[in-house]
Amino acid sequence: MDYVPHDKKTMETMLAKIGVSSMEELYEDIPKSLLLEKLNLPEGLSEADLLKRMTVLSKKNHLYRTAFIGAGSYYHFIPSLVDYVISRSEFFTAYTPYQAEASQGFLQAIYEYQSAITRLTKMDVTNASMYDVASAFAEAATMCTFATRKSRILMLEGMHPEYIETVNTYCWGRNIQTEIVPLTKLEESLNDDCAGFLFQSPNFYGEIEDISYLTKIVREKAKKCKIVYGMPDPTCLGILKAPGDYDIDIFVSEGMGLPPSFGGPNLGIFATTSKLMRKMPGRVIGVTKEINGEGEGFVLTLQAREQHIRREKALSNICSNQSLCMLACLVYMVCLGKTGLKQVGTQNIQKANYVKREMAKIPGYNLKESRATYNEFVIECPNVDKFIGKCKENDILPPLPLSHYFPERSSEVLVCVTEQNSKEDIELFLRVAKEAAL
């Protein structure tokens, strides 16, 4: 199966028009020694065989009936409208709307996304998406150095290990120094050399940081230092104070409205203040007027920051990003609206905290921290392996053993509970936990 429309006769007509006699002649610029006979790949499949093959392959993954894992990727209910909208081929088969006048549909949608994100976060401006929250954190770190002309980045302990690794990679590239600081050593680590202070809340362990304290201390101790606040699951904004209500400079997050899909695609939300607008990487859409009329329309704007104009002086190399995912995120937000967003946030915190309380009552299970948590928490188990095994036996995707990232923390798991876990799921899960303690 291929998707070339031409038949032989058409090809011959076209070759004649070009003035060559064979396809091979079109490749005369290529040194003979480079020309291949044939790739060592199997023959193409028919659509029927392809679908069968891919279905069989997919089923080598196990799909659990219910899941109690998060750790950066969360199971939330996605309204049917989301897939309806992103399956409209005028959206998914378009490209970056370079020709604005023929692309008002997608441009308006991006503008609406920008508006919705600023409404949700109460930040001043946002771009039209980054790849994910990890790389958004990394780009934010870079941006801090541009904004401050300093090159020391502090990350508060408790960030997702993969986000820390990502920030480290990007910063190493630009020769920016990074440090991970525990809360207890924060004050002493801060100084005027700091370009940026990054923290995650709810953090990797599900705990909500004391953001007012963090921002206060940074502002006091580190002049000019930019504050970057990030999170993996923005559904918490349905009940948590908006990022823009705190004294922060940049907000980053993973998106919403997409299935886990083994970790991607999703999107990175990236928002900042008006003051830092022109230091922000990534695509942005603005409203403008017709040159020869009074009508309004949408265009890509602030392109002077970008690589295709600025080349080596660009703020980042990011160009195409995650537009269709951004569209999904927009549709998710407007489907839920303020009421639904609040409901989701409420259900997550209530259900997760219910499980947390109930698990802590089971002999052998101990909570390690007392801080408020959203939809995740860490708990010490009497027998992690047995617990994980029993979950699987009951077709429950088990919590993440912390040893996955921290080999030394072999007795703890990171439990996630969302609105998708029904009462029955939760009861089964608690029963399994009990059994695993025996």
């Binding site: 199966m1 490209y95 401006v125 349905g238 009940i239 970790g263 990003n321």
Partner: protein, 476 residues
Amino acid sequence: NKIQLIFEKGYETTKNNFVPQMDIDEIPLTELLTSDNLRTDEINIPDIPEFEIVRHFTNLSQKNYAVDSGIYPLGSCTMKYNPRINEKTARLPHFANIHPLQEENEGAIELIYNLGKDLCEICGMDAFTLNPAAGAQGELTGILIFKKYFEVRGEKKTKIIVPDSAHGTNPASSVMAGFDIIEIKSDENGELPLDQLEFAMQEGDVAGLMLTNPNTVGMFDRNILQITEIVHKYGGLCYYDGANLNPILGMCRPGDMGFDIIHLNLHKTFSTPHGGGGPGAGPVGVKADLIPYLPCPQVISTEKGLACMDNEETTIGRLRSFWGNFGVLVRAYTYILALGAEGLRRAGQNAVLNANYLRVSLHEKYAVPYDRICMHEFVIDAHLPNGVNAEDVAKALLDRKLYAPTSYFPLIVHEALMVEPTETENKRELDRFIEAMLEIYEETINNPEHLKSGPHNLDVGRLDATLAARKPHLKD
């Protein structure tokens, strides 16, 4: 035609009901959160009736030109058909709904491994990472591998050579890895002058070269073997920007040309949908000696089967969370399985056929600065009669229900229109494009003012980009 944003479609007490009903007893939120973190204000996103949302986005979609609408000849973007079966396989529940950290992931791991292997075969490389989320992130990955490679060897290399015809991402990515740029001017054939390359390499502190081949004017650099030889001679590495891989699919391989690192754009060459600007995927392939530097996590084949490798001492690290844009990988793998060896070659060849057919059909009226057999694309220099320029031509195409070529790129052609039809365009559509272009040419003579004030048949007239940037209006 007043703009109506979705937020204007809300009602006060509308009851959408998507979320599961709460089925456990709640306790007061104030017991779970402090006043410092509990949100007390309402989120300013209205409750909008479901039907209004459906109509709103259906309507917006109809205001958007797409590959499904007609030819989309954006040079260097390879806007080919996005097969519907890809959408179906990516949505298979056992792909779409699995968690990145679950252990029972054999299908996903096998897909990643197999796709990597296939890309190795297609590109002549020894290993691929599929983690980068986009071509630009792939470039960054590649250049970070440059950096690591020389760091580990203890060699101080601070510069990267980039031709003036390169994509803007090339210099931008290089800078992100801490390199300075040496720009080399392309010669009159659009190729890289060997003498200047050698001259630059001789400096000693050059890490290597980033090259797109065929390049952005659609020319395959005939000296490619000498180029990579020169770079290697001085201890440099050769980076292949895979944006233009499509025309050489199955015909020749970057690895065989002497490239050490390559990034691909799955959304270009391998038919995954562009999605209005993402999600894409930017796999990076390397020769064997660079494997230790690949980002983590990697899937490797061991005696006991496939395994994930995470902590190689020499890795450049992690580029993003988890495994990359897995859903995009599923689509690309589906495409490769569909086409097979023969289909990939046919795709490449016909991309070249279509580009040359357009070129020879237009070059009598439109100046084509590099006017010989091209690969997947060619560039028009639209200095047209009566001061009509590339932008005017672009808008006139939109008026005819066609899309415009990439405009004002590459920078080495001033009024550039970079035309890439791809292999999935049929001859009737190509002829419609040619006819429109020739008609527009006539209009440059007969009615240039009409062209300069276009478009005339779309939802809006020509928009003022300068105003947008001067007074940014980025939200409602």
